[in-house]
């Protein structure tokens, strides 16, 4: 049997038209909905995160999930967890560690202190970001929905922003030689999902929050708890709200 050129074009066109339709139909059969065109409006959101220190168990799920989700190179961190062991005598320095960013949890501590807790950290997505201020070309910018993001096709790799961040949240991607940092999983939250770290936190110590959403639990969280941001004297407008943050935390 010979195939004419007309047959080939017709059949190929049918295949092209039908394949997406078939895929969508299959998804419907499995109870899933096909991915819709994004209707995400930046002006409708203003992102933040709440962190409950008392709930963090230092399991490192968040660090692992973040590294996998965002292909974070080994030895670098978009998020990490610190363990604080505060001595009984408050004048002494706390004993802080974060082995491999807490990615694999924490080994037992021999010396106990008066109190001990875990502090998850990530970019504070500051409203008055020192990193945005110093970027010489504007490659680091604040998006209308409250995130500090980096245009990697524009970044010079001058590292001024790394110096300017008071929280140590930025690093230079060793392969791309541009700055990298937490995007608050923008590719996920703009599709209605939560961040990888919040998704995998077994105790809900971290919760993504939308300050522009009047029904978001953050409003009650901020109303009913004593909350603090890291290094408030830096006046960066940090949007990571910690519940139960000890004064020893830097």
């Amino acid at each position: 049997m010979s195939i004419t050129r007309r047959d080939l074009v017709t059949n190929a066109s049918k295949l092209l038209v039908l394949t997406p339709a078939a895929a969508a139909f299959l998804a419907c059969l499995k109870g899933e909905t096909a991915e819709m065109e994004p209707k995400y409006k930046m002006a409708d959101h203003y992102w933040a995160m709440t962190i409950d220190i008392g709930k963090c168990i230092g399991c490192g799920n968040c660090v692992r999930a973040c590294a996998t989700e965002n292909s974070v190179p080994d030895g670098y961190f978009r998020t990490w967890v610190e363990r604080y062991v505060v001595p009984a005598w408050p004048d002494e320095h706390p004993d802080v560690d974060s082995p491999d960013g807490g990615k694999h949890g924490f080994p037992p501590k021999e010396k106990a202190g008066a109190k001990s807790f875990f502090v998850p950290k990530l970019c504070n997505h500051c409203a008055h970001s020192p990193c945005v201020q110093v970027c010489p070309v504007g490659a680091t910018f604040e998006s209308p929905d409250g995130l500090v993001l980096v245009d990697k096709t524009y970044c010079l790799g001058c590292r001024y922003c790394v110096q300017a961040c008071p929280y140590g949240c930025r690093y230079i991607d060793p392969d791309k030689q541009v700055v990298d940092k937490c995007t608050l999983c923008y590719h996920r939250i703009s599709k209605g999902l939560t961040t990888a770290c919040c998704e995998t936190c077994p105790t809900s110590a971290r919760t993504l929050a939308d300050l522009k959403n009047p029904n978001d639990p953050i409003h009650e969280f901020l109303r009913t708890n004593s909350v603090q941001v890291l290094k408030p004297h830096m006046a960066t407008g940090a949007k990571l709200y910690y519940k139960g943050l000890d004064e020893s935390v830097r």
Binding site: D74, G75, Y76, F77, W80, E82, H93, P94, V96, D97, S98, D100, G101, K121, P130, V132, Q133, V134, C135, P136, V137, G138, Y154, C155, L156, G157, C158, R159, Y160, V162, Q163, A164, C165, P166, Y167, G168, C169, R170, Y171, I172, K176, Q177, V178, M234, R250
Partner: protein
């Protein structure tokens, strides 16, 4: 990376372990400082009519140019994407101190230094263009920009314009280096850098280093040319260096005393760093060997009746020590500012590689390069004349050396 993590003492945020600004960023303020200092010394003669320093006027201008050409090279080599650096001109971010560098640099290079040097040397260029043949002659003719007019009136206009350019140049030199200090001083996240004194300290240390360099260059070139050193000139330069150094040292001590007395949350951490990891470079090299010793030596020349040869030896050694001290100061600012954690709970180390892009060899090449450029500039535009009576040092407004 593992090796670095091993060298951490105490706690650092995990992304802080790796130092971001290397020795190349130490060279950048050091070289820029030499430019600003050399120019300010040159302007002493031109604007403030300090006749004694005239023999160094043209040499200072050429030295400034040679170093200014090299100044952006360490920055360029340090960038992750040097091919994008031109974006700073196209889309500068107005709130960034660093974004201004390109503009301040171009202003200083093209508007101040090149124009001033051209006006200063224009008569020589025209005369060389008339007498030199071959490729060099073509270069000279190109440098005349088509104007062969060296009449008395034309030279007077050159002189007047040059004077105006120098007037513009002084605040420009202040801007060039003051802004370098601002790049560091405005980083509130880093208490080692964050002080409003930083631009002023950078400026005065720049003047000290630039004056020291030109003084040494003058001594070296005179010795190489087997001529006699003009001691009046040398004494004056050394005196200005001494005065500037006293101001610079006072400002640095003011900063230190202020930090000790205020003892804010960062003090313990910084104090520990100075007493351990920065002890050699900060206390020994910068303060003792690079500042106190040369200051005492220079002070001795001001109060004791010393013989010429002794003064020359003192000037040479104090100039050398000063340059070491100012380099150590840049090192302590740039590298020291990254050795401690912003959590104030730990310290990392800086390990300089030998042959990498930001390694020791690159730094040595970058430090030698300006001297080669200066050599070429001096060959092209000799800053001195022999005592023939027909030509005068300092161009149209100068006198015979």
């Amino acid at each position: 990376m593992n090796e670095l993590v091993q060298s951490v003492q105490g706690f650092m945020y995990p992304d802080e372990v790796e130092l971001q600004w290397s020795v190349l960023i130490v060279l950048y303020p050091f070289i820029t400082g030499l430019v600003a200092g050399a120019f300010i010394l040159a302007s002493l003669e031109r604007v403030f009519n300090v006749e004694e320093v005239k023999p160094t006027y043209r040499l200072a201008l050429l030295t400034a140019l040679a170093f200014l050409i090299v100044a952006p090279m360490p920055l360029q080599l340090h960038l992750g994407h040097p091919e994008r650096s031109f974006e700073m001109f196209l889309t500068p971010h107005k709130t960034s101190a660093m974004a201004m560098f390109g503009f301040v640099y171009m202003w200083y290079l093209m508007v101040v230094l090149v124009v001033e040097i051209w006006l200063e040397f224009r008569r020589d260029i025209v005369m060389a263009a008339r007498t030199t043949r071959g490729l060099l002659g073509f270069v000279y003719r190109l440098m005349t920009l088509g104007s062969m007019n060296i009449s008395e009136r034309a030279l007077a206009i050159d002189d007047k314009t040059g004077w105006i350019i120098t007037i513009i140049g002084i605040p420009s030199a202040f801007l060039l280096h003051g802004y370098v200090g601002f790049i560091f001083g405005s980083i509130k996240a880093n208490p080692w850098w964050s002080t409003p004194l930083m631009p002023v300290v950078f400026l005065f240390s720049a003047m000290v280093s630039g004056i020291a360099l030109v003084m040494l260059m003058y001594m070296a070139t005179t010795w190489l040319r087997k001529r006699t050193i003009d001691m009046r000139c040398l004494d004056t330069i050394a005196r200005y260096m001494f005065y500037t150094f006293v101001i610079d040292f006072s400002l640095e001590m003011l900063d230190l005393i202020h930090r000790i007395y205020q003892s804010d949350e960062s003090f313990q951490s910084l104090d520990f760093m100075v007493h351990t990891r920065l002890w050699m470079s900060h206390v020994v090299l910068q303060i003792v060997i690079g500042t106190v010793v040369p200051l005492l030596m220079l002070a001795a020349t001001q109060v004791l009746p010393l013989r010429d040869a002794v003064r020359r030896a003192i000037y040479a050694s104090s100039g050398g020590l000063t340059l070491i001290g100012i380099f150590a100061m840049r090192w302590n600012v740039v590298i020291g500012g990254q050795l401690f954690s912003k959590s104030f709970l730990g310290y990392t180390t800086y390990k300089m590689a030998l042959t990498t892009r930001e390694g020791l060899l690159t730094s040595i090449v970058l430090m030698i390069l300006p001297f080669f450029i200066l050599w070429a500039l001096v060959k092209l535009l000799p800053p001195w004349w022999e005592t023939s009576g027909t030509k005068t040092a300092g161009g149209a407004h100068g006198s015979a050396v």
